[in-house]
Symmetry: D2
């Protein structure tokens, strides 16, 4: 059975609040057995992997370079791409739902691709203020929104 892939995106230079939110989101998704995909580096990405890992989920890191050692310590499956920042689009393509924790130019490329592809994009902890991003006040609300949007997006659950 296919695992469901959820993306957590955010900057390497993250605030304590963003680190905390990313770890809580990873833990919430990991506890449900979801696969969490991210950029595999430090900051929000590391916190997301840490939370996912500790909760028993599968953290996958889509890495810009060619060396699996560039992954943070909590990435279970390091996927080196050698595509540099073009790897961002893969994170967005592979995720059914995206949660943006904070913002940065790199994160913004992912948020914009998410909106471009009509993927649900949830925002928390100073995520980009863009039309189409569903902003939430904290990690718990972001996790709930993400799961709700994930369920809504699954073919079998669509209402008639």
């Amino acid at each position: 059975m296919q695992q469901l892939v959820v993306g957590i995106i955010g900057p390497r230079n993250a605030t304590p609040e963003q680190i905390e939110a990313a770890e809580a989101l990873g833990a919430a998704f990991g506890a449900l057995g979801l696969t969490v995909i991210c950029g595999g580096r430090s900051g929000v990405m590391e916190a997301a992997c840490k939370g996912t890992h500790r909760a028993g989920g599968l953290p996958i890191g889509i890495l810009p370079g060619t060396d699996p050692q560039e992954a943070n310590a909590y990435v279970a499956v390091p996927l080196t791409t050698g595509l540099n920042e073009a790897r961002n689009i893969i994170i967005v393509r592979a995720a059914r739902v995206l949660v943006a924790v904070g913002n940065s130019p790199g994160t913004l490329t992912e948020v914009a691709y998410g909106l471009h592809f009509n993927k649900p994009v949830i925002g928390v902890a100073d995520a980009a203020q863009l039309e189409g991003v569903q902003h939430t006040p904290d990690a718990a609300a972001a996790a709930e929104a993400a799961l709700s949007r994930l369920l809504m997006s699954l073919p079998v659950i669509q209402a008639d």
Copy 2:
């Protein structure tokens, strides 16, 4: 001698004001013999190619698909990539300066990549309101700003 590559980005669904601005920008760059790179499709992209072509410049279209026929009628060099929307990053990487004419989720991915790579990003005609985008009131001002930033970015002209 290498040609200088400038990028014009913007939506397919463009307003008359944006179409006019894109064509004027293409004409301004084309008259200087610059190479104009864009996504090669309709709307802002087509207007940019039209202006560039009519002014004697070289309009290059970086196409998402695999068929050169998907290029607009003014693209001189159609470069099919088969990368779908991942071709956006190539436009940004290849351009020394970007001018955003209007906005859309796809355009926003390019603006965000431009800021991410510290490229000059000029905005006109309702471009994205982001920190780092240099907004200008009209196409003439946008062209002037782009050329100024282009000159500043060339190694030989940097002040000491």
Copy 3:
């Protein structure tokens, strides 16, 4: 702890011998808890995922399109890329060792990238006859060669 990623590559139109070899290879790698990466489609890819899945390993499919439904039934983690055939390079980049089961133009792009990046490339069941590919007579020999090359490639095991 990072999982070790091994790639199995081969054509969609596969012979019964190739299907059997791919499934045996997936089973050999899966039984060791390895992550098996492949293109996620039918033929050799499906057989590799089937073997990996049944042996308890993690089969990851790097998909050319944007719909996780294009994955075969044994892919645990479908990673849609939207990059079309450019996704081939990601399989090669992410794998520490590649096993080519049979050949086709698409498979050959992966074998050639593997050689280009100095990755170990093992061949079985009519894989490409190229200098640098380590040919083996059957799936058991291919699995043994792949594991040996994998061990040799790990930093901690390198002889001094």
Copy 4:
């Protein structure tokens, strides 16, 4: 009117015979006003650009990195991609016909992609011995074969 794009591919470490063939091919295509696309680096790529440039054609270099200075001296339009070796597929996608001058693992990725996409692939000067590659004895024969295949591929010229 769209320019016709032809690709010349081959190794950086090239023999004198391959350098000569690449330059002659670039000159043959350039004299016809064709756009020649290549990887933009040294060896076969530089010779192809040199021939194209001297004959008045347009040599475009699809570069792996992010700095236009990595282009050889004869590239007219340097298109930096930042995609590293994944840029190879763009050369293949954008070319209507490919001529392989010599061989190497990197060149082989391009030849294999060309065959995969059913593009005409002409070989000269020790190009890869693969089914589907049309081998020719020298640059003049390779140019003639490439032009013939190019003409055959154009929609307007297809026989009924």
